[in-house]
Amino acid sequence: MTDLRHYDVIVSPSITEKSTLVAEQNQVVFNVAKGATKPEIKAAVEALFGVKVTAVNTLLRKGKTKRFRGIAGRQRDVKKAIVTLAEGQSIDVSTGL
């Protein structure tokens, strides 16, 4: 049984035009928990998908401010992690865990 914490780190795969583009460089994009660190993400991906991770890049996309009925609100921030896998390894993101 893998550590349950890993499931909290990885929120979901990010399936977008850009993420399919980077997939060609053997990179996978995940939405991760806002407080997750690179080492945590690396550990989680390695444990959950059984692959070797060579690098993790992260970014924090700030939520947009949106108005709903004249009241200003803010969408939540999203942290994304672009995980580079070791050569020859892959993750099928569309099938789920």
């Binding site: 990010s14 399936i15 977008t16 035009e17 399919t20 569309s94 099938t95």
Partner: protein, 494 residues
């Protein structure tokens, strides 16, 4: 695509169809490419979704769609290619195994299915020159017309008030109040009620006691309700009726003259006679036609002998059997009452079903060759005929015909059949023979009971007989509350 014949026995055919996984995949990819520009998926601009991604998401459902389509369309295509006509919808069977199906859907295994069906036997249309029928025509006697008019006139009889005592046949106008044990009961009271003595409309004993009364008389009569009187609270009871006679009227003479005619809404007596004669002719005409048709069918039956698709026969047999059973249940009879056992009856009706199917095939073939078609107009007319039989339910019936695809066919079938028979009549040898009314009718009954596999007799004439009723009900109409009762009609095998 590969088609392998695995069974060919009599009319039965079984085909195995194999579509290679490669072909399936190629078709799927085509569809995906087609869908690519149309789908909208979050995270992708329209038209920018990679095909690989699409395939992952929708591959299975597209494949399932493909399989469905193939199963729906291929059988007909295959059959046309082979130049065969299936009697019924071909039966398609695919693998039941879940894993296998999964593999097919992911285009890893070849898609296989088997088609089993029965072909419509091909037969040569034989010349109809050999068919000879006799048209039995009835000369309508003057007496008969007069009699019929008299009967009509009875209902329109006029009464003249008279002073004297009421006699049999007179019309009495009265008030009455009925009591059981001195207490008035429901429905036992009426004012200005008109009663023709001797008509038997009231309970026995009532009318007899009115004989001899005059206008203005009052009388108390005692009658006993019959034990089988419909109102159970009165059945078998003794009741008294207080009667006040208001008027006694004698019947006027019934005479066939212009006056009577005008009363019936016709200009002259001559015209009335003509109309009545027409009606009688129509009645005999339909019997004559039924008999003609039966002769034709009998001879066709003798002419054509070939194997019939057992599935069609089964369907027809089920129809008949259901009808018979409901008829028996309704009349509370068993097969023993009809002097037969269930097995025997089954066998008999099987033969009947086979004959019907065979004749149906022959008729439809003849019709097709002769280019007989049922026009939209005729369909409309038939529909209105049906509507007229069920007043007040028009909407439901129209709805029924619109919604049930088989229903329209069941309307078309009898019309088509009639037209084919008309067509045949114009080609074959018809000899006219004058017969008496009794001969025409009696013969009909005889034949019906003689040859049980007989069909097409005037349905009403032998309604008493269970099998006869079944013969009348031949259309493969889906049984339903509003499903119209069909006159004798051959199932047209299409």
């Amino acid at each position: 695509m590969q088609v392998i014949e695995t069974l060919s026995e009599g009319l039965k055919r079984e085909l195995k169809v194999v579509i290679p996984a490669k072909d399936m995949e190629a078709q799927m990819n085509e569809r995906l490419a087609d869908a690519k520009d149309r789908v909208r998926i979050n995270g992708f601009r329209p038209g920018k979704v990679p095909v690989a991604h699409l395939k992952k998401m929708y591959g299975k459902s597209i494949m399932a769609e493909l399989v469905n389509e193939i199963v729906r369309e291929r059988p007909t295509a295959i059959l046309t290619e082979r130049g065969e006509k299936s009697a019924t919808q071909p039966e398609v069977s695919m693998t039941e195994d879940q894993d296998e199906a999964e593999k097919i859907l992911s285009a890893q295994a070849d898609f296989e299915f088997t088609l089993s069906y029965e072909v419509i036997p091909s037969f040569e249309l034989k010349s109809v020159d050999g068919i000879k029928v006799t048209r039995e025509v009835v000369e309508i006697a003057e007496d008969e017309v007069t009699e019929q008019i008299k009967r009509i006139a009875e209902s329109a009889r006029s009464y003249e008030p008279k002073k004297g005592k009421a006699a049999e046949g007179d019309r009495v106008t009265m008030d009455y109040l009925g009591k059981v044990d001195g207490v008035p009961f429901d429905g036992g009271k009426d004012e200005d009620a008109q009663l023709v003595l001797g008509s038997g409309r009231f309970i026995p004993g009532f009318e007899e006691q009115l004989v001899g009364l005059k206008a203005g008389d009052e009388k108390v009569i005692t009658v006993t309700f019959p034990a089988d009187y419909p109102a159970t609270n009165l059945a078998g009871k003794e009741a008294t009726f207080d009667i006040t006679v208001k008027e006694v009227a004698a019947p006027g003479e019934v005479e066939i003259n212009d006056e009577l005619a005008s009363k019936l809404g016709v200009e002259s007596a001559e015209k009335l006679k003509e109309i009545v004669r027409g009606q009688i002719e129509g009645q005999y005409g339909s019997v004559t036609r039924q008999k003609l048709k039966r002769q034709i069918l009998d001879q066709l039956d003798g002419l054509y002998q070939f194997e019939t698709p057992s599935r069609l026969v089964d369907a027809e047999f089920d129809n008949i059997w259901r009808q018979i059973n409901t008829d028996l249940a309704q009349s509370g009879k068993t097969f023993e009452d009809e002097d037969t056992t269930e097995e025997k009856a089954r066998e008999e009706y099987r033969k009947l079903a086979e004959r019907r199917v065979r004749l149906g095939l022959v008729l439809s073939e003849i019709g097709e060759k002769a280019g007989i078609e049922v026009s939209e107009d005729e369909m409309q007319r038939a529909l209105y005929d049906q509507l007229r039989q069920f007043p007040g339910q028009e909407k439901e019936i129209i709805e029924f015909f619109r919604k049930t695809p088989g229903a329209a066919a069941s309307l078309r079938a009898p019309i088509f059949e009639e037209k084919v028979v008309d067509h045949l009549l114009s080609q074959i040898d018809v000899t006219d023979k004058v017969v008496s009314k009794e001969e025409l009718m009696a013969d009909d009954e005889d034949e019906a009971s003689e040859t049980k596999s007989e069909k097409k007799a005037a349905p009403k004439k032998k309604a008493a007989k269970a099998e006869a009723a079944a013969e009348g009900e031949e259309a493969p109409a889906p049984k339903k509350k509003a499903a119209p009762k069909k006159k004798a009609s051959e199932e047209s095998a299409e």
